[in-house]
């Protein structure tokens, strides 16, 4: 890769192997260069420079031309029932390539199914750069363990990567089928998570942008405190969700509301705030059922949640304290849970937990939607049901807060959430089998092409890749 060239130039579009916003923007504008006013050599040169800018420009050109292989791998998936039924001699019938189906009926059938006719071609040209997919650094990036191929390379060089349980320091190591590579989970969380705003606080830099966006949108008075604002936002979100349950999403705002939601749930601060609200709701809903003592307990629980929240809002945030407080909540909640009728909890716990994971958890637990349920017409029963559900929700929220705690000592923003623009690049090719929990992956086999589908992920059109293939073909 020539030195001094812009890595993410906006004038000369070069798509790179990373998840940056510049790259996404370039990807959205990428076109196949028109060939009409160029010589064949120019076309090939352009295609080569485009593709090499994406497919690991850090591999030197000489090394790559040596690894380039004009024999591109492909597979055809066979139907075992067909193989069992025919021995191959049926292809000799007709005019020598099998009995033809009536052309008319063929078309009709295709029209009915709405599929395109004929067999898909095998996109061989898309496999031009398949030898580079064997490299360890590329495979790490493809497994979504690093935000760019370059970062993956750094991980290898710095010793965060193991191959088959042994430390491997060479990013150019050619993985063999069956090799397992492991990356240190902390590094993966750092690479794929949101960045911190400041070194000594756990807040992400994505949060400020969200706040700013909210300020621009809303017409709220400046006199309102930040806390009140957040509470309001939350309420609004809840309301919007209940509306947006079945409606199609047309405007940007609605979609944003939908997309912001799960983040909020992950955000431990807001989750805690939710807890307070829910504890309140538990109290209100089941006032008749719960005895005074238990009400007091619940209230104390809500207060402790609020207190720890205000404590952690300060600049000095320590992980140990956050962990402790969450654990305390756990125990407190467990106590309350035991006092709520047990049989009811046991019966409903699984469904409630499932509900907690869905985005519409809150709408489901709100009294209005619950009352649409014919079983819950009886008000006393409804209260009990809501109390149970809220308790389960609290439990789920706390469990989530425990697995994803606020910790300023981590190198990434906590609670962890994916970095911006990650979802547009998130896919895992079939030649890898990834276990995200332990940040390990197995390189199953070399990538192959099959009819209609190539396994090497590349942003270019087949035409461009064909030209690039031709370029490298020239010398051998």
């Amino acid at each position: 890769m020539p030195r001094g060239s812009r890595y993410h130039g906006l004038k000369k579009i070069k798509v790179r192997q990373d998840w940056s916003k510049e790259n996404l923007y370039n990807l959205s504008r990428l076109v196949t260069p028109p060939a009409a006013n160029k010589t064949f050599f120019q076309q090939k040169w352009l295609a080569k420079s485009m593709t090499r800018a994406y497919h690991n420009p850090y591999v030197r050109e000489g090394t790559w031309t040596r690894t380039f292989d004009r024999r591109l791998p492909a597979v055809v998936s066979m139907d075992h029932q067909y193989l069992a039924r025919y021995d191959g001699s049926e292809m000799a019938s007709g005019r020598g390539s099998g009995i033809e189906k009536h052309p008319r009926s063929d078309v009709e059938e295709d029209d009915r199914k709405g599929q395109k006719k004929g067999v898909d071609k095998t996109p061989y040209m898309h496999m031009t750069f398949y030898p580079l997919e064997r490299r360890l650094d590329t495979a790490i990036w493809r497994a979504l363990f690093a935000s760019s191929a370059k970062q993956a390379r750094q991980f290898v060089v710095h010793g965060w990567v193991k191959v088959n349980g042994k430390r491997m320091l060479y990013p150019g190591y050619q993985l063999n089928p069956g090799d397992m590579f492991q990356v240190e989970p902390e590094r993966v969380m750092y690479a794929t998570g949101a960045r911190k705003r400041k070194a000594n606080s756990a807040v992400s830099d994505q949060e400020r942008r969200e706040e700013r966006g909210a300020d621009e949108q809303g017409s709220r008075g400046a006199a309102k405190s930040r806390e009140e604002k957040e509470m309001e936002e939350e309420n609004e979100l809840d309301e919007e969700e209940s509306d947006a349950g079945a409606a199609t999403l047309e405007s940007d705002e609605e979609r944003e509301a939908m997309s912001v939601k799960p983040e909020d749930e992950q955000d431990a601060k807001k989750a805690m705030k939710n807890l307070v609200a829910r504890a309140k709701r538990i109290l209100e809903d089941s006032k008749r059922k719960l005895s005074g003592k238990r009400q007091q307990e619940l209230r104390a629980f809500a207060q402790s949640v609020r207190k720890t929240m205000s404590k952690h809002r300060g600049t000095e945030e320590t992980s140990a304290a956050a962990d402790d407080s969450i654990e305390e909540f756990e125990t407190a909640l467990a106590q309350i849970m035991t006092k709520i009728p047990e049989d009811a909890v046991a019966k409903d716990s699984t469904s409630a937990q499932q509900a907690a994971t869905t985005a519409d958890a809150i709408t489901a637990s709100s009294p209005s939607s619950a009352s649409s349920n014919p079983q819950m017409q009886d008000p006393a029963k409804e209260d009990e049901y809501n109390a149970r559900k809220d308790a389960a929700l609290l439990h789920a929220a706390l469990a989530r807060a425990r697995t994803n705690p606020i910790d300023a000592s981590k190198p990434y923003a906590t609670p962890w959430k994916p970095r911006d623009f990650m979802s547009a690049f998130a896919f895992i090719p079939r030649y890898l089998e990834v276990s995200q929990n332990i940040c390990s992956a197995v390189y199953l086999r070399h990538p192959v092409a099959r009819p209609g589908l190539a396994e090497v992920p590349t942003p270019f059109h087949g035409e461009t890749l064909g030209l690039a293939f031709n370029w490298y073909l020239r010398r051998r």
Binding site: S28, D87, A246, A247, T248, N404, I438, C439
Partner: protein
């Protein structure tokens, strides 16, 4: 760029809940194309689905009504299917399911799609099938529609996961949840009408280099020219497709079925074949051990056993660098310090 990021590019900042979020799913203005399509089918089903009644109460009611067991089972399966469908819809939040076109991360590349990954439940199920029920890999692969190598890899990774769990090591749980939510997944829905969704084609035939040429081979019309003969024409050593696929057992089973063999007969035949394979493996193992005993002399050491074996110094060949040869020939320098010699290991055991 900033205008784009604030306008159409805004949708990509954070993931779309319960769905993938690729460039191809949006139009130039940044609208989700499939959201515009009014999915009437989805809505109808949503209306039809029952409000969530308690499972026990339904069973009790059915008992009261006096339904027989098969009917009740069928109803239970139907309810489970509906429940799962409803959950799925809710997770997507009213947005229709992705079409094939929405799964292209790169708009220009029509030949690349983000293909589903195994869901956590399916991975767990595969692990259970192999380790607890002791099913062999090919049969698990055929049942679940997952490549054999993938099944083996899942078992390997799951074993490590369990080990980590036992050791109390921290999982990257938030990362795993977030990433899996961004990817299409192959579900495993036990207790529903269709629990297994095939993950990938399991019988992939690699395109052999010698079959890349076109050959004009005249054969008489009366001849039964089969796949086996065709393979011979391409290369004398090439096996026919039925034997080169990863799961040739499936072809045999289907063939026996077409021959009209009963279920027991088929199972018996399959068992015979399996046994033959096992005995062959055992035989080769026995022969290897016998060879070792014949040729190797073992001397017990304090910590290690020393194994001595006769070797031929002639194996090094003319240049003294024979690949299978032992040791190096005196006077022949190593090349590993030469310029351009790659010292990256080629394999890790």
């Amino acid at each position: 760029m900033w205008t784009w990021l604030k306008g159409p590019g805004k949708a990509f900042r954070s993931p779309l809940p319960g769905s993938t979020n690729y460039l191809s799913a949006y139009d130039k203005q940044g609208n989700l194309m499939r959201a515009r399509r009014n999915d009437n089918k989805d809505k109808d089903r949503g209306d039809r689905s029952q409000p969530d009644e308690n499972e026990d109460s339904i069973v009790q009611r059915e008992l009261d009504e006096g339904l027989d067991d098969t009917q009740m089972e069928k109803n239970a399966v139907d309810r489970a299917t509906q429940r799962v469908e409803k959950e799925e819809r809710e997770e997507r939040g009213g947005v229709p399911r992705e079409r094939q076109k929405d799964l292209q991360p790169y708009p220009l590349n029509q030949s690349f799609r983000s293909q589903p990954v195994l869901s956590e439940e399916l991975r767990e199920q595969l692990y259970i099938q192999v380790t607890m029920f002791k099913h062999d890999l090919p049969s698990v692969a055929a049942t679940f529609g997952v490549d054999i190598r993938r099944v083996a890899a899942v078992v390997r990774l799951k074993t490590i996961e369990k080990q980590w769990e036992a050791d109390g090591k921290q999982f990257a749980k938030p990362y795993a949840d977030a990433v899996l939510a961004m990817l299409p997944q192959t579900p495993f829905k036990p207790e529903t009408a269709k629990p297994i969704t095939p993950h990938e084609p399991i019988n992939d035939l690699p395109v052999h280099p010698s079959t890349r040429q076109q050959i004009f081979y005249p054969a008489s019309e009366s001849r039964q020219f089969t796949r086996e003969d065709a393979a011979k024409v391409f290369d004398n050593k090439l096996l026919p497709a039925d034997q080169r696929i990863p799961l040739p057992m499936l072809v045999d089973l289907e063939r026996w079925k077409l021959q009209g063999l009963s279920r027991e007969d088929r199972q018996k035949k399959q068992k015979e074949k399996d046994d033959a394979v096992h005995t062959a493996a055992a035989e080769s193992e026995r022969r290897r051990v016998a060879w070792e005993q014949r040729t190797q002399r073992v001397v017990q050491g304090r910590r290690w056993d020393f194994k001595f074996q006769d070797i031929s110094a002639e194996k090094v060949g003319k240049d003294g660098r024979g690949r299978d040869a032992v040791g190096y020939r005196y006077g022949m320098p190593h090349e590993d310090r030469k310029r351009g010699m790659v010292k990256i290991p080629t394999s890790v055991e």
